[in-house]
Amino acid sequence: MMRAVRALSWIELKLFLREPVTVVFTLALPPLVLYVLAQVFGNTPNPAVYGGAGPVNYYVPAYIGLVAASLGLIGLPVHLAAYRERGVLRRFQAAHVSVPALLASQLFVLFAGVVAGSVILVALARVSYAVAWPVSWLGVAFSLMLGILTFAATGFLLGVALPTTRAAQGIGMLLWFLMMMVSGAGPPPEVLSATLRAVATATPLKHVIIALQDPWLGRGVNWTETLIMTGVLLVASALAVPALRRRT
């Protein structure tokens, strides 16, 4: 079992790096957009927006959340839908690759992708705008872990629920852009309309972003958001895992 998980994780990581769309959305696009935003807003705090935080200090944890969203909304669903569509899952099942082994390998790829994306973001922001280090490393690490698990479960759910690879690509990108624009990785939340803020509250990314920002900016661990993320994680897992067992 462990040997299979190791081999599968390693190969899945290589397959991830060979998939241009996922790599762009995980490793290239977030730093690029962050750079543009930093050029526009700088890192000087303005009491009217970003809850008084420096814009780059605000955006870096938000974009770390966005990397997790890229993998959970686009990378993982497209990958799983393609596996299902092409019969790869059937072949794995016939070869007795267990569902836990499959879950473990995908989680590994998600962690690796988020860590790599975060390192790129932080390095860029540190070098160009001297972004502040997290006030609570532990709090950020905790929220990041939970955020990754939340988007992993979301990704598995989308991957088993969407009928085809093309559907997963289209719907995944739509969700990604929507969440990015309203959940705090786009315009400052203060300038959003009440409707947009309500939409944001209904998406997981907003909660992941706040959970990352609060310990980063010295506001402590946000237990409300922690609870919401845990809820999304549990509901999505409860729906996705049985479906995954059935639909392979």
Binding site: R3, A4, I11, V88, V97
Partner: protein
């Protein structure tokens, strides 16, 4: 011991009954063919046999083990090449062998596997770049990594060019030479005739005939067909009573006589006596395809 025993297998999907009481026995060492029209339940039968699906009723034993209650043991005994299934386009041949070796457990000399199946030169090639024949070679190599005693090969030559099909046939014979039992699902009669020791014809979820290809041809093939351009004054009544003749038909200028055994000699003799010694006889022995069409036709009429 029998490699595979299926008794009274029954499986439905919603309102459709896919498999309706299938019985099969495959002794160890055999290449056993499963033939049948699309949607007749062939693939469902083999998927139940290696435990990918649970049967609604019936008993399945793979070397005495039940795929549902003892999946680990059956997993070690069985290898599969699945219909309509692929690998990720960007996985390399070497990676695929490494991955499936890790899943199969037990020591595998990956380099030797690649040499044996002629894939060494393709070790770094991506799955998506392989030809149909190379893909099937890889699938067979993967199916055999765990040294199974029984392999299921489901429509492995569909979509291959004639050269690649023959290449795959050689692989199947190679597998059997090493003592592995093979269950082969196919649409191609020439494939079944060439490879299989015995075949079963499944129609609408039931086994309609089982036997050696030659046995089925003898029983259901309808014997010989002899065709020739009919002379104007041909006496059909005389031909109908020839030894071995079962029917005489005339379609325009062409006369077709069906029958068995001594028919050809008797027919030639009679035609010569009647002064038609210059007629050219075209003799078509019955093939597995004739037998198959007759079996499927009879089964669908009954319905």
């Amino acid at each position: 011991m029998d490699a595979l025993r299926v008794e009274g297998l029954y499986k439905r999907y919603g309102a459709t009954t896919a498999v309706n009481g299938v019985d099969l026995v495959v002794p160890e060492g055999e290449i056993f063919g499963i033939l049948g029209p699309n949607g007749s339940g062939k693939t469902t039968t083999v998927e139940c046999a290696y435990g990918l699906r649970a049967a609604d009723a019936g008993r399945i034993r793979v070397f005495g083990a039940d795929p549902q209650s003892d999946p680990d043991r059956v997993g070690r005994l069985v290898g599969t090449q699945l219909q309509d299934s692929a690998l990720p386009d960007r996985i390399t041949v070497g990676e695929a062998v490494h991955l499936f070796a890790a899943v199969a457990g037990g020591p595998v000399d990956e380099a030797r596997v690649l040499v044996k199946w002629g894939l060494t030169g393709k070790r770094r090639a991506k799955f998506g770049s392989l030809s149909g024949g190379q893909r099937q070679r890889l699938f067979v190599a993967l199916a055999l990594l765990g040294r199974p005693r029984l392999v299921f090969l489901d429509e492995m030559t569909t979509g291959l060019d004639p050269g690649a099909r023959r290449e795959v046939w050689r692989l199947v014979e190679e597998i059997r030479r090493e003592g592995t039992t093979v269950v082969l699902v196919t649409h191609f009669m020439d494939e079944a005739e060439r490879l299989c020791d015995r075949v079963a014809v499944i129609v609408n979820g039931r086994v309609r005939a089982v036997g050696t290809p030659a046995g089925l041809v003898g029983q259901y093939g309808g014997g010989l067909r002899v065709r020739f351009t009919a002379p104007l004054d041909l006496d059909r009544a005389k031909l109908a009573v020839l030894p071995g003749a079962t029917s005489v038909d005339r379609h325009g200028e062409v006369c077709e006589v069906r029958g068995h055994g001594a028919l050809v000699t008797a027919l030639g003799h009679q035609l010569t006596i009647d002064g038609h010694g210059d007629v050219e006889l075209h003799v078509h022995p019955a093939s597995l395809e004739d037998a198959y069409v007759a079996i499927v036709g009879a089964a669908t009429e009954v319905r």
